[in-house]
């Protein structure tokens, strides 16, 4: 089983860290993992994305061109990356900032108000963790227990921060779980 996941957004939205936490969890789960950033030459702002691969087999190319799952945190990323998602893949859209709907019907799309959910946790900067939670719930790319462990380890020495990050992850996951149920009803 191989998950090829991309996170994309504005510089500063935390897409690189969301990807790092995902592969950290994958590594803790004993999988082969890779993480590869992509950004322009500017020091701040601009667009950023990262390719992550979680696999049972050794990983060849670390750059993902046809993601099995894609998270877009802003509108330019939707325009650029929607068409790259594999047929039957997952697309997660930050509906707080992206007012457009997905054009494709051959993929599973989830609308997650990442900024709003982050603000409900008290910090807009947690939007990336909301995104991560949604992604993991939608793809089951890594077991939740390892994701929690990764976050705890990354924020070791700052248990309060880790707690907030995890709360944001849970909100993102909950949003996808609810949408899935609503879809079946």
């Amino acid at each position: 089983m191989e998950h090829e996941v991309m996170f994309a957004g504005f510089g500063g939205q935390g897409v690189l860290l969301a990807g790092r936490m995902l592969v950290y969890a994958g590594m803790l789960a004993g999988k082969e993992v890779s993480w590869m950033p992509s950004y322009g030459p500017e020091m701040r702002g601009g667009t950023a994305s990262c390719s992550t691969v979680i696999s049972d087999e050794p990983i060849g190319c670390p750059v993902v061109t046809k993601p099995s799952a894609m998270v877009v945190m802003n509108e330019p990323s939707l325009e650029r990356f929607e068409r790259t998602v594999r047929q039957g893949g997952v697309l997660i859209i930050n509906s707080s900032l992206v007012k457009q709907k997905a054009a494709r019907s051959d993929i599973r799309t989830y609308y997650v108000p990442m900024n709003d959910l982050a603000e409900s946790c008290g910090d807009l900067h947690l939007a990336n963790m909301v995104a991560l939670g949604a992604l993991v719930e939608a793809t089951q790319a890594v077991p939740e227990a390892f994701l929690q462990q990764a976050i705890t380890k990354h924020f070791a020495g700052k248990p309060e921060v880790a707690k907030k990050e995890w709360r944001a992850v849970a909100l993102g996951g909950g949003c996808v779980a609810e949408a899935r149920c609503a879809g079946r009803r």
Partner: protein, 355 residues
Amino acid sequence: MVEKVLMKGNEAIGEAALRAGCRYYFAYPITPQSELPEFMARELPKRGGVFLQAESEIASVNMVYGAAACGARAMTSSSSPGFSLKQEGISYLAAAELPCLLVNVQRGGPGLGTILPGQADYFQATKGGGHGDYRLLVLAPDSVQEMYDFTLLGFALADQYRMPALLLADGALGQMMEAVKLEGEPKPAPDKPWAVAGRRGREKLNVVQTLALDRDELEAHNRALQDKYALVRRNEVRYEALQTEDADLVLVAYGISARVAKSAMAKARAKGLKVGVFRPITLFPFPEEALFALAKQTNAFLVAEMSCGQMLEDVERVTCCQKPVHFYGRTGGHLTNVEELLERIEQIMAGKAVR
């Protein structure tokens, strides 16, 4: 058991350098290797070392000359355009037989090119980018783990043969994160009785220089260097051969392209195509005998690299026209693409490929 950690390739080089006892690192920032000077700026002072951001690449490579002449384990790093600037100093380091580790995290060229990955500095790395008859011991990692392992190895081999070693990586390996085991005992630096580190009761002064105006003296020095390179060719060839025993087609690739070649091989094998992968790990010394022998048993080669065909020339040279050598290359910052490579494999094996 050593726990795995998640690290960028550039950081893994820094961590390995520190463990190898490198306490002198001189560099000038350039993407996509800037995580390495960043790491060294943060970590070296903590471990009693010196990080100096030089005023230019040229200054930084000459600082390595100074530190290495004094017997210290020293390192510099850059990416393609910056590494070109270091070539004069590298020729001097080779001439003076100074052990050190050089790192080139290649990006796409020529000129200022792009900040994206490339593999078009193969000629410069293996054929002598500076002037004169010299060689570098060139190691080509294909994973973050090997960025770590080969940094340790590079320092050890440089000391063993008294020559500069070059870690030839690329922007993808430098920037990507993978799980790494930080293990393996670094070989401690040997005694360096030739170093400029105080007279210590010796009769003669140690002098490290490259000027030799006496014709016979310089020719003898050139012969001595060539003897050393011959020894390196004999002892230090490293490569990886995967499923080449029954292969009708052997992919030849190094570094990041070798990973893609391995993926393409798996996909081709799943379709019943007998494909193998040959990965040179040392680019100098090039695995000449192994490839020559392989040319006797396989039907064709396909060289894949992110250039317009540089290692290709070595594969053609050492296989001596025994079998066709095909080529697939991307440039401009594009990585070797697994689907394109697979398509090329299928064309060749269906006998439809135009060389």
